[in-house]
């Protein structure tokens, strides 16, 4: 009986190689599955009138997900992104209005608008970088747990945004640029999605994917996340890498917030406090997208695909006549399932390893026996 059991388990672990490969690319399987199911229930799901707005709403979380994935790969969490989005949005709008007025308002013409936008952009991004630096320094040098640091930052920044906006929604005093950003470049049904915002988002996404997987810097970051001690012994400046990962996170979140606010022509101080919090959406997507929660493995593009998949679920649920409450529930259940699955697969791996070692030993003993008998 035991013999049978061993053989069975051994085969099972052979199978696990294939399973591992499938598991690391599970998000693609997941995405296809969702599209198939949603199309089967509602054929309109694939129509351009549905797909285009869906992708447009995904642009914000996709952009935020880039930095979030970086931080998680380095072995930390950045929970402040939810508030950083609002900082980016509020600062870019507020500063534009301020400098637009300084440059003479509508009397200044296009020149005033362009200059005001450039300065506002610079200030907002700078704010993002500073936030990231503070987070990173506190985590890497101050040795405070990233959870504490970034939750503190989240609270502080929410307060900042409220003070900055004085509780009101800020709109740009001149909406010339706003229209440019959100206008479709090509007027063909499905390609309507190609706005400047989309293009910026795609470029940033691809840039960070290449940075992560194809450069020395990115590869070192992966090693830092997988085993900080080992990385340090190999001469990698682990602190610098961790700080930079936080800077990337805060900057991409700021950029996302800026672009979102401009395209809506509104910076809302409490965006994300009602409804599905972008932080939760990004967190769920990053984990579902296969980034290891303890760090060391992950991909920006996979996170983006996960964002799209979750948006597709929301979208499909709405099309099937289900409300907002069910959406939130679905997102929660999905995240819980993935997290449980993650810990199960770690348990499984340890088990497989043990079984494999035992099988190797058995093989060796068999050979020894054969050698002694002959």
């Amino acid at each position: 009986m035991r013999k049978f059991n061993d053989i069975f388990k051994f085969k099972k672990c052979e199978r696990s190689v294939l399973f591992n490969n499938l598991n690391s690319n599970r998000i693609y399987v997941f995405a296809v599955l969702i599209i198939v199911i949603m199309t089967m229930t509602k054929p309109e799901f694939l129509g351009s009138g549905n797909i285009v707005p869906m992708i447009k709403t995904s642009l914000l979380p996709i952009m935020v997900g880039i930095g979030f994935t970086y931080v998680m790969i380095a072995g930390n969490f950045d929970l402040s992104v939810g508030a950083v989005i609002n900082v980016g949005a509020a600062v870019v709008m507020g500063e534009f209005n301020r400098f637009f007025a300084i440059f003479g308002g509508d009397a200044g013409g296009t020149k005033a608008i362009v200059f005001a936008w450039i300065i506002a952009f610079a200030i907002a991004i700078l704010a993002g970088i500073i936030i990231g630096l503070i987070n990173g320094l506190l985590v890497a040098k101050g040795k405070v747990h990233s959870f504490i640091v970034t939750i503190g930052m989240l609270t502080a920044l929410s307060g900042f945004v409220y003070t900055y906006c004085k509780g009101n929604t800020i709109s740009a005093d001149n909406s010339l640029f706003v229209n440019v950003l959100e206008k479709s470049l090509i007027n063909i049904p499905y390609l309507k999605v190609l706005t400047i915002r989309f293009v910026i988002c795609a470029i940033v996404l691809i840039f960070f994917e290449i940075l992560l997987l194809r450069t020395k810097w990115g590869r070192s970051l992966l090693i830092v996340g997988s085993n900080k001690e080992a990385a340090w012994h190999s001469g990698i400046d682990t602190d610098k890498k961790i700080i930079l990962s936080f800077v990337i996170s805060a900057s991409t979140a700021t950029l996302a917030g800026m672009l979102f606010a401009i395209s809506m022509n509104a910076a809302v101080p409490n965006y994300g406090e009602r409804g599905i919090n972008p932080l939760m959406l990004v967190l769920a997507s990053t984990i579902i997208g296969g980034t290891v929660m303890t760090g060391g493995s992950g991909s920006v593009v996979k996170t983006a695909v996960a964002v799209l998949s979750i948006q597709a679920i929301f979208n499909g649920l709405i099309m099937n006549g289900l409300g907002f409450d069910v959406q939130v529930l679905a997102a929660g259940i999905l995240l819980a399932l993935v997290v449980i699955y993650e810990s199960y697969s770690i348990y499984k791996q340890v088990l497989n390893k043990g079984v494999r070692v035992a099988a190797e030993l058995k093989e060796k003993r068999k050979k020894l026996k054969q050698a002694t008998t002959t």
Binding site: N20, T215, I223, A230, H233, G235, I236, V357
Partner: protein, 497 residues
């Protein structure tokens, strides 16, 4: 230049003090090119500390170090690396989520400019792997978590060798290897020797030292005992040098009479850790279990206590077959396990002592699901008296206690459960002599009261003075049983298989 003796490494009058002890006391140590120099000694003899100084992990040693005749100051791992010291650590530092090639070239990934050149990385990795004869066995892109322990040890070595060190230090490289794998490792060492590498080989395994090394240095209690050519000494002489003079009757040997079987273990197996371990335990017996690092000593204890999952096997306690289960279940049956790592697994250091001690008997002190800590007062005073814990106030936080008293608290925690079988994993690690003696007395008294004790330890004098019987474990299997006239030499030889 003073390398007329062809020494690649010379360490002169090296000392290193830890709070309370002189871990390394004025040691001279040198290695020639193309030589394997074995470094031996019992636990705590100072081998690892000496080599950590060489690897640049301590920046407050005293003494002089010369590498190839030049004086160097090894104040950081990076300096040590650039000076040509390569160290293969006992605990491997592996990034499990990354591939073999990334692990080997972590820190200086080859490429053009800022970008990684995957082809170059692959070919360089194959090159590095060829030095440890793995290039035909392992694909560089395999993830580290899918590589066996033996292979990851060799990969770690390849990682060190790729920097072309002059001196290679190996700390217990064979602790988790099987005999064929050890032979493979020796072939590799032989080849490195031919290339003129100076190798320091730390090991407890006598036969390995005789097989592989040219010279041997023995340390004891931080002092150098002797350095000699391996051809000039015998196994017995080496063991005597390591063990030193006997500390006779430091503790009285426990006179034990057979009072009948209490525990019977058969075919206990956890894949990859322990394999078909069977033994019996009598009432009031103290059973020592000895094994080198990675032999499966701790794992055996954890499996018996239900802390780790067992794949198959039987445990019969007092004639009743126990269903293998959780630690909680085992505790209720009367099997308690004292962990070897009191800080991480044993105690909640920030809580007061009484909470720590009573934490194992919360359900016994509860009525109808409500916890009455006041009921534990009697237990507390009894244990405090028995173990003479200082300070005698149970409200003091555990973190304020000395190591010895913390260990007493941990022991008290498990004694309060009134176990039938008590498994002690390294009961006196990091404990001062006084506390050690008291703990040993307590163990002997417990055995007299009829509690069966299993002592898992790497401290040989402890095993000699306490045990009625010693089991030697190696690679997860029991390989020897010593019953009468147990002494350190016998135990050491038995553990070496």
């Amino acid at each position: 230049m003073n390398n007329k003796n062809n020494y690649v490494l010379e360490m002169k009058k090296i000392s290193k003090r830890f709070p309370g002890t002189l871990a390394v006391d004025c040691i001279d140590f040198n290695v020639k090119a193309g030589e394997v120099h074995a470094l031996m000694g019992e636990n705590g003899a100072g081998k690892s500390t000496l080599m950590k100084i060489l690897a640049g992990l301590y920046n407050d040693y005293s003494g002089e170090i010369y590498i190839a005749g030049n004086k160097v100051e090894l104040y950081s791992p990076y300096i040590a690396k650039t000076e040509g010291v390569g160290m293969v650590y006992q605990e491997l530092s592996i990034a499990y989520n990354r591939s073999v090639q990334e692990n080997i070239f972590a820190g200086d990934i080859p490429g053009n400019g800022k970008f990684v050149d995957m082809k170059k990385l692959r070919s360089k990795t194959l090159n590095a792997l060829s030095r440890v004869k793995l290039d035909k066995k392992i694909e560089p892109s395999t993830l580290m978590k899918n590589v066996s322990q033996h292979e990851s040890q060799l990969i770690e070595m390849a990682k060190v060798l790729k920097d072309k060190p002059r001196i290679l230090v190996m700390d217990e490289p064979t602790s988790s290897l099987s005999s064929t794998e050890v032979n493979m490792l020796f072939d590799i060492i032989e080849e490195l020797k031919k290339d003129g590498m100076a190798i320091v080989y730390i090991s407890h395994h006598l036969h390995e030292v005789f097989k592989v090394s040219d010279r041997v240095t023995v340390l004891r209690d931080g002092k150098k005992i002797s350095t000699c050519d391996i051809s000039e000494v015998t196994k017995e002489q080496l063991v005597e040098m390591m063990v030193g003079q006997k500390v006779t009757d430091f503790y009285k040997q426990h006179a034990y009479q057979d009072k009948g079987k209490i525990l019977e273990v058969s075919n206990l197996t956890r894949y990859g850790f322990i394999h078909e371990v069977s033994f019996q335990l009598s009432k009031g017996e103290i059973l020592g279990v000895v094994g080198l690092a990675g032999a499966g000593r701790t794992e055996l204890g954890r499996c018996l206590a239900g802390a780790d999952k067992v794949d198959y096997g039987e445990i019969i306690l007092e004639g009743e077959k126990i269903k293998l289960g959780s630690m909680n279940k085992m505790l209720s049956k009367g099997i308690a396990y004292l962990t070897e790592d009191r800080k991480l697994e044993g105690l909640a250091l920030r809580l007061p002592n009484k909470v720590n001690i009573l934490s194992s008997i919360i359900s016994r002190l509860s009525r109808f699901g409500i916890y009455f800590p006041s009921k534990g007062k009697g237990v507390l005073t009894e244990l405090y008296q028995k173990l003479s814990i200082y300070p005698p106030d149970p409200n003091v936080g555990t973190s304020n206690l000395s190591g010895g008293n913390q260990q007493k608290i941990l022991l008290a925690k498990w004694l309060s459960t009134k176990p039938k079988v008590l498994i002690l994993d390294e009961p006196t690690r990091g404990v001062d002599v006084g506390a050690k003696k008291l703990i040993h007395e307590t163990i002997v008294n417990l055995a007299k009261e009829g509690v069966s004790v299993i002592v898992l330890s790497s401290d040989l004098p402890e095993l000699v003075s306490l045990s009625d019987r010693v089991l030697a474990i190696k690679q997860g299997r029991i390989i020897a049983e010593l019953q009468e006239e147990i002494d350190e030499n016998k135990i050491l030889l038995a553990a070496n298989g």
